[in-house]
Symmetry: C2
Subunit: 228 residues, 2 copies
């Protein structure tokens, strides 16, 4: 059975989800044996997953020392942010196609879930849904390749925000998503693009690259609930 790829995808997704939800802090060690136990897998599969994640810059492999959750440098962080800005802002300014009725509906549905998560003070759900909103937008106005590229950038942004976020800041204004959808419904892409630029700059303004955070974080209880 070719279920091995599926199982590895499951493990990789669980790790990515943990990164996305800010549970796995940058710098955390990822011991192979321990991960194998947590996911009821074996070292070989874990090893392949870590190799793939290292290619996505989510994990850093240090030869002889093992795998760690990546700690993007300030420069890398700036580059990731700027790249994402370029893609999303430019796509909105000149989308490959108009936003369809179904597309608008998909986005509206996500936005409503965001509102629910906001009301429930579910920060984790809000982070996830915010990403989904952006990715769906890109898929609707752009294509799957851009979506996959941006998906990786969003994942890296999670690490960046975890490392460099200022205290007492409330990032990710979900009200922007509402306004964005309204502009897109009116096919005012120029204004939507400008709003997206402000939206992303808003996120960036919450970051402070001067403080070198001591994100030595630990693991097993945090990952334990992921195994199912």
């Amino acid at each position: 059975m070719g279920s091995s790829a599926k199982e590895e995808a499951r493990i990789a997704d669980a790790l990515c989800k943990a990164v996305l939800e800010r549970k796995l802090a940058p710098g955390s060690k990822l011991p192979e044996e321990e991960l194998a136990q947590i996911f009821r897998s074996n070292r070989a599969k874990i090893r392949r997953v870590l190799l793939l994640l290292s290619r996505s810059h989510i994990v850093t492999l240090e030869p002889g020392r093992g795998a760690f959750v990546s700690r993007p440098s300030p420069q890398e962080a700036r580059d990731v942010l700027a790249s994402r800005r370029l893609i999303e802002v430019s796509l909105l300014a000149r989308p490959y196609r108009q936003l369809s009725a179904q597309g608008a509906e998909r986005l509206r549905r996500i936005m409503m879930q965001e509102a629910q998560a906001h009301a429930a003070h579910d920060a984790i759900a809000m982070i996830y849904l915010s990403g989904q909103f952006h990715l769906t937008l890109i898929e609707e106005l752009g294509n799957k390749v851009l979506k996959s590229i941006t998906g990786e950038l969003i994942l890296r942004m999670s690490l960046i925000i975890t490392m460099y976020e200022r205290q007492n800041t409330t990032c990710c204004l979900s009200s922007d998503h509402h306004d964005l959808l309204e502009l897109l419904g009116a096919h005012d892409y120029a204004e939507a693009s400008a709003l997206m630029a402000r939206h992303l700059e808003g996120i960036e303004s919450c970051l402070d690259f001067h403080r070198e955070p001591a994100t030595t974080t630990i693991l097993s209880q945090i990952l334990q609930p992921l195994k199912d």
Copy 2:
């Protein structure tokens, strides 16, 4: 010694180079044992390389059947082309920084090599240098993340062109690179961006997605000279 990563990078680079130079046709089978012999390596390393290349969409792993050079579908091809166009055209329109004197010098050097390759009718060198020109441009006006993203897209474009190129067409007008550099030297980014759009559209117009090409290609003699 941590030389294993280096060796795997060497093998991956050789395979990518072969794809770039259109020597490895899409659909070609990549048997692990044979690759191990060609590169004087072992199956385990080859296996890791193929896994990584599959993540870059250069190689497709079919469970139980092995690794093949990817055959991008017409839809994937269109998406890759459009994504690259978005990134390069947008970056030129609003670069992160002005083109520096050193940057212009780097580009000029590549362009001169292109002219030499053109004079020598060295098609392979021309393909490689054209890619280098675009990547250097992105690094100078943008950043390393965008460069790496575009590098992967260019690699995928090689597969696409191999599969869908019309007969008797001369793609990649190197004269465009000359004009581009001139516009950038004058800091006329709007015009440079427009030229880049035409340049990339020119490449796309050489493609024909209707013909399903029988690119069942073979391997060992083609890869043999790569082993050194």
